[in-house]
């Protein structure tokens, strides 16, 4: 029960002495809003990308795992296994740097699903969905924003690799193209994780599922060992694994002996992933609520 007599605060009267400057500002703000024309799909998506970038700006620590983990992997693999696998760490670095590049960026893609899952629990999603904008814009924008993350992870790995003595016979152009290819593939892969992000109940479930899928794909690839040294059933799997194709194409670009066939295969696989999972994500997103 709310008592009317005991507390003076409860006796409200709309015309009670309120600083009129505030209500004037309020009225001015209310009446001055004319509706601009609706933004196009791309413009809306870019605005959501901007949202993602601002969040990185506010909490730069979230980039730590994007940067530290690849560094650890590269150092560990090179100096721990280099001697045993290739006879020398220098030679092994040539072999695994493109693989670590792929691995680091692909693991970062899981984050897209985790972030979307977290976002969906928040009230702001209701506002986005009640706006007259291209419906997939928040998703496309978020994944676009995530490519910034991929680019950062890729840059860290490549710079460290060069410092450690990686010999890029593909030249700067080859290395840059390799990075673009990997980031582009990760963009496509993100859509599988955003799908997972909308299917799972909690962010940690999304993370676990993502890693469970990625670990076998990365380790059962040509990332760390020559497939010809493997038992034949495993070798067949490794050779069919899209991650192997990506690593082969990346090695080609960085090492200066790329083949259009390798690159075309990777682009085709990326296109298929996007064509299947981007619409699936959008459909799940629309149905949520």
């Amino acid at each position: 029960m709310s008592t009317t007599q005991s507390s003076p605060a409860a006796s409200t009267s709309p015309e009670s002495a309120r600083p009129s400057s505030t209500s004037q500002a309020l009225n001015a703000a209310l009446s001055s809003a004319t509706r601009p024309p609706r933004p196009g799909p791309l413009s809306a998506a870019i605005t959501f990308g901007w949202r993602g970038m601002r969040k990185i700006r506010h909490v730069p620590e979230q980039l730590l795992d994007v940067t530290i983990t690849p560094v650890l992997f590269l150092l560990m693999f090179t100096y721990l296994f280099g001697g045993a696998v290739s006879g020398s760490t220098g030679e092994y670095l040539q072999y695994i740097l493109p693989a670590i590049l792929v691995q680091s960026v692909l693991f970062t893609a899981v984050y897209s699903g985790v972030a979307l899952n977290t976002d969906m629990t928040k009230g702001v999603v209701d506002r986005f969905r009640s706006l007259p904008i291209w419906r997939p814009a928040p998703l496309v924008g978020a994944v676009l924003g995530d490519t910034a993350r991929f680019a950062i992870a890729a840059t860290v790995v490549v710079l460290l690799g060069l410092v450690m003595g990686f010999d890029a016979s593909g030249g700067i152009g080859g290395v840059l193209l390799a990075m673009v290819l990997v980031v582009g593939f990760a963009f496509s892969l993100s859509w599988t994780f955003t799908t997972v992000g909308l299917l799972m109940r909690t962010p940690s479930a999304v993370m676990n599922t993502g890693f469970m899928v990625l670990f076998p794909l990365i380790f059962l690839s040509n990332a760390f060992v020559e497939p010809s040294t493997l038992p034949s059933a495993l070798e067949a799997f490794v050779n069919a694994n899209p991650v192997s194709h990506l690593i082969t194409a990346t090695r080609g670009l960085m090492g200066g002996d790329s083949s259009a066939g390798d690159i075309g295969l990777v682009l085709g696989e990326a296109a298929v992933m996007t064509a299947v999972f981007a619409p699936l994500t959008v459909r799940l997103y629309r149905g949520k609520g």
Partner: protein, 324 residues
């Protein structure tokens, strides 16, 4: 094409598994008014609002918002309304200013205009000092004000407000009420969900009371309150021993059954009008029973429900459609 009604819902139904969250809701909301939807936890208020704001597809029935069908013309509806959800619909991980710029740009302003508009709103809502702070560090009242500001980056024709003052202190609540009044003053229609009779009474022109997904009463606040009386008179005595005497006296003057409260010196009684309550207090004082204090309280939502569901409810519930 322009319908005189802002909202016209017929037999809206939404089920979640076995729960019929909304079970045949009819609403008619005129343009330019504040329409209150009053109901306890789990009544189906949020679900109703989410269907009307095109966030959820109804499982049955239909509705038009500002003349547009909420399913087949959802995009037109979205262009005319704005939503302030029950969980504040702002982004915690951005600053207040960034939130408003984000919405301005999403609504079609160029970056520069969006910034100007954001600053204008921040001043109008008294948030200029907190503009650069992350929203997760805002107080509840500040979040709500930002939320409302975000809803009027472009003035909507219809605004959905889902429990905008739940959890706010009286001062913040009054600020939110003032904002709502100012909006309505400029011609925006407001659909306001609330658990507080007091709030609906302060703001709404008409009220629908919903319970278990059904509208159980509809009318002006005065009509609604008339069905529950004026509230209650609470009396506290200096000496608990005299409580029975006081109860007898009050029962005689006010013609109702007094309720003894947990406090052994306190009792309360339903009243029909304030005049007679004043007389009863005077009587108590004349009888020299040792009055320690008294107060009047408004009927609570509980009492409204008791009254509404205690009455034969046929008139309110008969024509609820059993939609698929």
């Amino acid at each position: 094409m322009t319908s005189p009604l802002a909202i016209e819902a017929n037999g809206l139904v939404k089920t979640f598994g076995d729960t019929r969250a909304v079970d045949g809701v009819d609403l008619e909301v005129a343009r330019g008014v504040v329409y209150g939807v009053l109901g306890p936890n789990g009544a189906g208020k949020t679900t109703t609002i989410r269907m009307l704001a095109t966030l959820l597809r109804p499982d049955g029935g239909s509705a038009r918002v500002l003349g547009h069908d909420i399913v087949s013309e959802a995009d037109d509806v979205r262009g005319l309304v704005s939503l302030t959800g029950q969980l504040a619909s702002v982004d915690d991980d951005l600053t207040g200013r960034e939130n408003l710029i984000l919405l301005g740009r999403l609504l079609g302003f160029a970056t520069k205009q969006a910034r100007v508009r954001a600053d204008e709103l921040l001043v109008a809502f008294g948030l200029q000092d907190a503009a650069g702070r992350l929203v997760k560090n805002y107080s509840g009242g500040m979040r709500r004000r930002l939320d409302l500001a975000a809803s009027i980056v472009v003035t909507p024709e219809l605004m959905f407000l889902d429990e905008p003052t739940t959890g706010l202190d009286p001062r913040s609540r009054n600020q939110v009420w003032d904002i709502i009044r100012a909006l309505v003053g400029l011609g925006t229609t407001v659909l306001l969900c609330t658990q507080y009779l007091d709030e609906a009474d302060q703001l709404a022109d008409r009220i629908a009371v919903i319970d278990s997904g059904k509208v159980i009463a509809e009318g002006t606040p005065a009509q609604l309150k008339a069905s529950v009386g004026q509230g209650a008179l609470h009396v506290r005595l200096l000496d608990p021993e005299r409580r029975d005497d006081a109860a007898r006296l009050l029962a005689g003057t006010l013609d109702a059954e007094p309720q003894l409260e947990a406090d052994p010196a306190a009792l309360s009684i339903r009243i029909e009008d304030a005049e007679r309550a004043a007389e009863a207090v005077a009587e108590l004082s004349r009888a020299d029973l040792g009055l320690a204090g008294f107060s009047l309280s408004q009927p609570s939502l509980d009492e409204v429900f008791l009254a509404l569901t205690g009455h034969p409810a046929e008139d309110a519930e008969t024509d609820v459609e059993v939609a698929a």
